[in-house]
Amino acid sequence: MLGFLVRKVARSAAVLVVVSFATFLLIYGNGPGIARNVLGGSISLATDAQVHAEMVKLGLDRPIVVQYGSWVNGVLTGNLQDSFFTGQPVTSTLVNRVPVTLSVTGLTLLLTIVFSVLMGVAAAVYGGWVDRLVQLLAVLGGAVPSFIVAIGLVFALAVDIRLFPATGYVSPSQSVSQWAQSLVLPVVALLVGSVGSAASQFRGAVADALEQAYVRTLRARGIAERYIILRHVLRNAAGPGLTVLSLQTIALIGGVVVIEQVFALPGMGQLATNAAEQGDVPVVMGSVLVMIVVVLVVNVLTDVATAFVNPKSKLL
């Protein structure tokens, strides 16, 4: 397992380098444009000399590979440069933003796992109307965009009935109960879309596993159905489900951008969007780095979990 883990981490590191370099190239490629944007905002009256001076000040006059190397060096020492516009260290900006997004996506993912396993297993085991209901919910959840659900939830449970706050985020260090309250609606909005497809996947995998010969054998030996499902069937059905969950996580990172806008959550999505609109390239690069790392970590964890439940996958 250790060798397997090392191989996965090494591959992820290689992917990180390739993707980050390609992103850096795209984002930092237009040095004069970046400098002019920093100097003048939307209407720049800066002369070419002023633009060049700003480029030198920001280090944008160096070859792109040198700039990338400098950036990587900063990453390794925890310095992601400063925002070109606010002067705030990107690291400290991310420190404020990442917990917000991780709170939303982390809770959503956790609840997705719980609900999708429960619903998938119930649908496969009981069949009938339970199965049809789960499939219907899967279709509906996938068909309705999360921001529509979010807006509907806000109107129903925040504006009409003042059960939850309509906007904003409260840090758990300020108040755990208010933190939880501020996350209910955003998490539910994301959950509606993510549970359905994952539950469908688990349902299919569990249904397949229940038809296998070893299940018939276990039943014939008088083993309790619950034990068969929890100890054997779920383990064998987990592989495809874990893969879907890792894909869900990646989709969540993209979907959370819109949810953060609807609920005015000061998270990564909002940060990345605003920075991209403004042309604040260090912040964009820092945001992209965080997202790449999250995706890679999720992939590695998924592979490790899959290897745990299905040792044959370690050969890949």
Partner: protein, 513 residues
Amino acid sequence: MLGTRLRTLRTLATLVPLTLAGTEVTSAAPVSSHAAAGSTLTIALPNDITGWGPDQAQGNYQAWPFEAVYDSLVRCTVSNAVVPGLATSWTFNPRHTVFTAHIRPGMVFSDGTPVNAAAVKANYSRDQKLPTGGGYWTGLTFTTPDPMTIVVTSAKPDPAMPVVNLCTNGIASPKYLASGKLNTAPVGSGPYTLEASATTPGSVYTLVKNPGNWDAKAFPFNTIVMKVIGSPTAIINALKTGQLDGAPVPQNLYNETIASGLKLVALPGETTRLLITDHLGKIVPALGNVNVRRAMNMVFDKSAIAKALYQGHATPTDQIPPPTADAYSKGLKDPYPYNIAAAKALMAKAGYANGFSVDMPFYAGVGMDSLFPVVIQQLGLINIKVHEVTLTGPNAISELLSGKYPLLMWPLGNYGNTLSDIAQAILQPSIWNVEHQPDATIQSLYTKMLNSTTTAQYKANLQAIYRYTIDQAWFVPIVYQNVYFAYNPKTVSIPAVSDSQYLNPLLWDFRLP
């Protein structure tokens, strides 16, 4: 504002009632009450600020944080009358070249350094060197004959100096400016200071009252919380649920805002117009013909555009300045009423019955998306084939202003100070006069205006400049778009708006309910 002899002005700010500067709209349904009305005001910033240097005040709503933490030398009312700020008294010589201001004693910046003439000079000298100065500080010099007197001298007559330079620029501590660390927190002498412990950059800025400020009593709220909320949906929801006391709202949320029991202030905003800058026909020969430009003015049914495209949230106009501006010619009949046949006749008279082609840049996100196809369609009726060129990316604005496109459309100005509009769009070096072609008549009229000896003469000469641009059809004014600000009447009131640009309430316009 201008007279032969300006003496000390110790007038109170004369705020134009909302019926002129803005229209208040009400409804009857209740909204949430905010906790402890009068103590905390919570408002939304649609976009984050980009730093705390006084020059980084972006204008419009983004100026609120700067209005909170910085004082300016003087303030300007909605009609551009100059009233006290850091300065308690001033003189402006008849030639409009020397502005002498006397600074009130005893004020300090939040870092403890004194507010004096040297501090003001340091700020203005810095503003002069910044690339974003826009040329407004060109030719100005600053002297301090005594510690509490600043003299701003212009090489040429500059009647707009108080409004363009002195009312708008905040004054920060020179020590703070010299540190270069202008992005994390401000150091000013304004009515509020930044509460760092309750501030998360990019998300929420908390400002607490500075009791030592000279104008502290004019600000009734002890704390102002500014939340950065970009989504109009989130803004309206926060207003409805009492999480916000006030925020700008887009036109498409007008009905919902009213139905929620909130009040709205409607401001005329900017003038959306075509700018025909190739008056000499060097780029597109046809545009050099005045009859072609006049014909272009006659193909737009502005009332229908205001009603259909803007759902009534815009006012059709045939003049650039707003009706309350000195430059507006009252009683001037629209010389270019909507008349396609007459427009075609003018094109034929100009020798362009078969029309011509012209490239026109389109820049998304400034409220012209629905109007642009209408412009193309209508100009097409007189055989002007507009080729749309979409501009995007960081160089889009530079390209827009480069002179490559002699025909532009943009929501500009509507400045209460119409001298800014002249400086920005009419004079040869103006940023929006992108071809920078000389015009002897304009120069002559401008000089005459600057040399006016009475207010009446000044206004007449100012109007003459705009009448000339109307006669020569330099622009095709279309509509003033309404800009809305929504607020909870139970927690805040806005009895008048003092923004001379008619874009938003200023921080000192917010009052207790």
